[in-house]
């Protein structure tokens, strides 16, 4: 019987808790996460079923800060499984005791989603600026070749999908942050 398993899975940034629950469920069936990596690839190995909690953090930082970051988590009993698009995967056996949350108050949980929001907003801005360049400056060259025209049309189509998607993601994240805010009295 095969004792490793590779799965590809995509999730939206406001659905991280669903992802955590899925990984916990996999472990309950004996499939324990061993690594994550692009393109949205999860590797599992088979073992005895175990009650792990998984937590996803969102963090970008330099090497020095990463050392401090990892140390604090590991000291608190968390095992680092890897990083994918700034999402950092952590787990802890429940029987080890102590907090099963990496964020123990709403304020710090909100900050996590604000980091996602900031990163995505920055990317959206970059995309929009690129689009302005591509479709304004470049357009004057059209008519020279039908191949170039076709490429532009394709790029426009891609943009027509990507930019609205980004906007939806940003709105969903804002709603998630708002929801967390309202939990505080």
């Amino acid at each position: 019987m095969d004792t490793t398993l590779t799965k590809h899975r995509w999730f939206w940034p406001w659905q991280d808790e669903k992802e955590e629950a899925w990984l916990e469920e996999m472990s309950a069936q004996g499939w324990h996460l061993i690594s994550v990596g692009l393109p949205w690839t999860y590797k599992f190995s088979l073992g005895a079923a175990r009650h792990y909690v998984y937590r996803l953090d969102y963090m970008y930082m330099n090497k020095q800060k990463q050392t401090d970051y990892l140390q604090i988590f590991r000291d608190a009993g968390w095992e680092y499984l890897g990083e994918m698009s700034n999402w950092r995967y952590w787990r802890k056996p429940v029987e080890a005791g102590g907090a099963v949350e990496i964020y123990t108050d709403n304020a710090s949980k909100i900050k996590k989603y604000q980091r996602v929001l900031l990163f995505m907003a920055f990317f959206l801005l970059l995309l929009v600026m690129l689009a302005i360049n591509l479709f304004n400056g470049g357009r004057s060259m059209s008519g020279l070749s039908s191949v170039i025209d076709a490429i532009y049309l394709f790029a426009q189509l891609v943009y027509a999908i990507i930019i609205p998607t980004y906007i939806v993601v940003l709105i969903k994240l804002l709603l998630r942050i708002n929801q967390l805010r309202h939990q505080a009295l």
């Binding site: 937590r55 953090d57 050392t67 401090d68 970051y69 140390q71 604090i72 988590f73 000291d75 608190a76 968390w78 102590g98 907090a99 949350e101 990496i102 964020y103 123990t104 108050d105 304020a107 710090s108 900050k111 996590k112």
Partner: protein, 111 residues
């Protein structure tokens, strides 16, 4: 020396931040902070590593704590003068809050 406005803008501290600052009256590393907070709060407050890492970053940036040492890749932090002043002011406020609460606490159980 920090002026009053500099101190007041941080108040009231969140429960987590308050306890983190309390433990840093002497230099302590992350793990020590998490353990001590859980201990002295009699288990009512637990600090997760994500919350603590973020708090260290913010408090250091705001000049309330400062790196005090490093051993085996573990940084320890301690309160700055400004941090001490913020904490002291917070404690004074909490004292007023508590005495107000205690003054009416008896009547709450009758209602």
């Amino acid at each position: 020396m920090a002026n009053l406005d500099d101190v007041l803008k941080y108040l009231p501290l969140s429960e987590s931040t308050y306890y983190i600052l309390l433990t840093l009256v002497e230099p302590l590393h992350g793990y020590g902070v998490m353990q001590k907070v859980e201990n002295i709060s009699k288990g009512t407050v637990k600090i997760g590593p994500g919350t603590l890492y973020g708090a260290f970053q913010t408090l250091e940036k705001e000049g309330l704590i400062v790196k005090a040492g490093e051993e085996e890749r573990r940084k320890s932090y301690a309160l700055t003068r400004k941090g001490r002043l913020v904490l002291k002011t917070q404690i004074e406020r909490l004292e007023i809050m508590t005495s107000n609460g205690l003054a009416i606490a008896d009547s709450l159980s009758h209602g």
